[in-house]
Symmetry: C2
Subunit: 206 residues, 2 copies
């Protein structure tokens, strides 16, 4: 009852866990991704994970914790393009990689269409408010990281000194969010790639 909600086990004594927590989390992530926090019931989740309620609670804590861990996995998995984009050498390449990555991630065959960080919980009632707030923070952190990267680009002379890094970051995040919504609406990868290309046409000249 103390800290059993940790995914990692603290000792090797006792019967070992009978399922792969990483794979179970992957399955849970996809359910949240597809149905959202409030739309995903415990029955949906445990069914997809292939385990019982009890095992889920022992391994992950509760539904909210499971959602947060699924978000972490999403960040390091399908959304890892964001991290990679940050490491591109120029601001323009960062922007291009970021939008291309968002197109790619939101239209991956075999994965739900759209972005976990958007449709996981955009609006919610009381019980799902904490999940919604977690995603709001997640999106805003992404914007902030982009902003910091563009500030660096300004300092390095890669962008004009009168550039507004916040605007650039918010612009990119806005387009990426829109791409996610469009992907959830059935837009294809090709169509969204064209949109991303067009969005980059308003990027400040290198």
């Amino acid at each position: 009852m103390i800290d059993r909600m940790e995914t990692r086990r603290k000792s090797s004594i006792g019967r070992p866990r009978g399922f792969d927590t990483e794979e179970a989390l992957e399955r849970a992530m996809r359910v949240f991704w597809e149905q959202g926090y409030e739309g995903a019931s415990l029955a949906d989740l445990t069914n997809a994970m292939g385990i019982t309620r009890t095992s889920m609670y022992a391994a992950f804590g509760n539904k909210e914790d499971l959602f947060r861990k699924a978000l972490e996995r999403y960040t390091e998995g399908p959304a890892s393009y964001a991290d990679r984009a940050q490491r591109e050498p120029t601001a323009r390449q960062v922007a291009t990689a970021f939008l291309n990555g968002s197109v790619w991630a939101t239209t991956r065959p075999g994965c739900p269409a759209g972005c976990f960080g958007v449709q996981g919980s955009l609006a919610a009632g009381d019980p799902g408010r904490s999940a919604r707030d977690a995603l709001i923070a997640w999106r805003n952190e992404g914007t902030l990281r982009l902003c910091g990267r563009f500030q660096r680009a300004i300092d390095e002379g890669d962008l004009p000194p009168d550039t507004d890094p916040e605007l650039l970051a918010r612009y990119l995040m806005t387009v990426a969010n829109g791409i996610a919504v469009q992907a959830a609406s059935g837009a294809t990868r090709d169509e969204l790639q064209q949109v991303a290309d067009m969005a980059l046409r308003s990027w400040p000249p290198a």
Copy 2:
């Protein structure tokens, strides 16, 4: 039991309704807008509407019908900027009015932040799937109408003949959807107006 789900009453006999259906629908719209279809419980809705469950069912049918009627009201109310934008004389003015309107509508003081057509139901489980599909259709219809408007602009010589009207329409809808998500994330009207202005910089020259 036949068609009592109509908002309009078919006869004047009997006890008249004790509440204003339009105002009740307005209140319901805001609840769906703020909490989404699945996040809005009957208790939330009827509480905000100031009526009982029974009155709601008698006047609107059921939760799903109420949602559809709320969407109609949203279309003709807060989202009426889309219709108005279509009637602008040039394609560029259409695009400008559309994005400006979306910024304005998603950040209206006294209204929930964001767009009903996006956060009303972006992802959902089985029970909310029909609401989700209704909003998908709603967004795609908006794109289609923009596309038709830009096709007309091409025919009129307002846009170059090699323009892809679908791409322009999808681009605008993508940016508007992104603006909605950003508004739901706490972005201010000024910030989003800057984003909209920047998005229009990639518009084909007049």
